[in-house]
Amino acid sequence: MRRVTREMTAATPIIVVVDDSQAVRVFFERIATNVGVDLRTYASAAEAMSFLSERRPDLLFLDIIMPEKDGLTFLQELRRMPLHESTPTIMISSKDYAQDRGTAKQLGVVEYLPKPMTGRAIQDAIVRYAVSPAAAT
């Protein structure tokens, strides 16, 4: 796990990113330093469970194709946990297929961002759903 924060307070939004791509995780870290969030990145679902089994982030980004458990199956598992039945989640994937979008929607994701993503799209999503969530309602 890698953690990136600016000056953190109890109100600092927690963002979790689960993606096996190190470059994607570094991309999020660069953006996090601009936005002022507590970012925690993980390379797999199993690794992320060390945090997610106990804590609910303000926003969760999930890749789909990963070496072990895929992101959609992982989200299905998380949704059965009372802690995560409504955790705001955004899928990030190179898979830009209607079937995956449909499954993600059924699992209650707030957005589906196909890769490649611009830094602006990531930053806007963090602001909309974690930094100023009232604006998203």
Binding site: S21, V24, T73, S94, P116
Partner: protein, 301 residues
């Protein structure tokens, strides 16, 4: 005991193509048998599993494992007509994408519910086991089976089977190099810094794709479209044969079997694709063997 072998029972993608002009390649949809002595592994249950099932009823075998890449119709629609499932003499283990064994059962059984089929899976008399997903590795007799996620609509697996010191990879449905073309098509949206990061992301995704098939002795892979058709059908979850050949060369594969042939392509068109694959391999100076997977073809492992 005979040497392990692979037999292709169905090689078509999307839907069956039982036309006279297509039968040199074959009309049945995805189904591949991998046999090692008394151990039988079946990859996918498209219409090709029906003649396989009929042949098995005359064999001394009574156990098998069937693994599914995913649950699109062309990969499961032979199961309701699979004789061993209806025979109490058989023991069958099913595995495919799903969080639990119950998920796998539900996905396979839904196609046999009314009004889509006259009888439900309760009429299966075989001893059926749905295998729970574990650590990513399954064992079936002497075969070690690893599965990984591939690029196709819905959660879809590729399988790597190690047996008799050889490695066989079955990836029936996979749209290879999709991220690369997505970046190329949307290049104007990114600044220089982002392009630098995206190059790293694309490189990592390519390495990850390659890792799953690296050094395989036999790769059975989606090669559904010509470059012209792929232009129109990009994003349908299947590969252009040019990308498949380059993928196999980059991964150091020994033999590539072109698979999941488009149902609109007749024998002549598939042969034309094969000739162009040979040209591409020659151009790259590679040693890859490239073969058209044909129904009934047997490959000794």
């Amino acid at each position: 005991m005979s040497r392990p072998y692979i037999r292709f029972w169905g090689v078509r993608g999307s839907y069956a193509a039982p036309h006279a002009t297509h039968l040199g390649v074959g009309g049945n949809t995805s189904c591949v048998e991998i046999r090692a002595g008394d151990h039988l592994l079946v990859c996918d249950g498209g219409t090709g599993i029906i003649p396989l099932g009929e042949a098995l009823m005359h064999s001394p075998l009574r156990e098998m494992m069937v693994v599914f890449t995913h649950y699109h119709w062309d990969h499961i629609c032979g199961l309701p007509f699979f004789p061993p499932a209806f025979s109490p003499a058989w023991k069958i283990r099913f595995f495919g994408p799903g969080e639990t064994a119950a998920d796998i059962e539900q996905r396979l059984s839904n196609q046999m519910k009314a009004p889509y089929f006259p009888v439900e899976i309760e009429t299966w008399m075989a001893s059926i086991e749905y295998v729970s997903p574990g650590s990513g590795t399954l064992q079936h007799g002497p075969m070690t089976i690893r599965f990984h996620n591939v690029h196709h609509p819905g959660v879809t697996y590729g399988y790597r089977v190690n047996v008799a010191g050889k490695s066989i990879v079955y990836m029936s449905d996979n749209e290879v190099a999709y991220l690369k073309t997505s970046i190329e098509r949307r290049a104007d949206e990114f600044d220089d810094d982002e392009h630098h990061i995206l190059a790293s992301i694309e490189r990592e995704e390519r390495l990850s794709e390659i890792a799953a098939v690296k050094g395989a002795d036999i790769l059975i892979h989606d090669a559904q479209y010509t470059p012209c058709d792929y232009e129109r059908k990009r994003g349908w979850g299947h590969s252009c044969y040019v990308d498949t050949v380059n993928f196999a060369i980059d991964a150091g594969v020994k033999s590539l079997y072109l698979y999941h042939h488009d149902p609109t392509y007749d024998d002549a068109k598939v042969d034309e694709i094969h000739r162009d694959c040979e040209r591409l391999i020659l151009e790259r100076g590679a040693t890859l063997e490239c073969v058209v997977a044909r129904e009934g073809m047997v490959v000794e492992i």
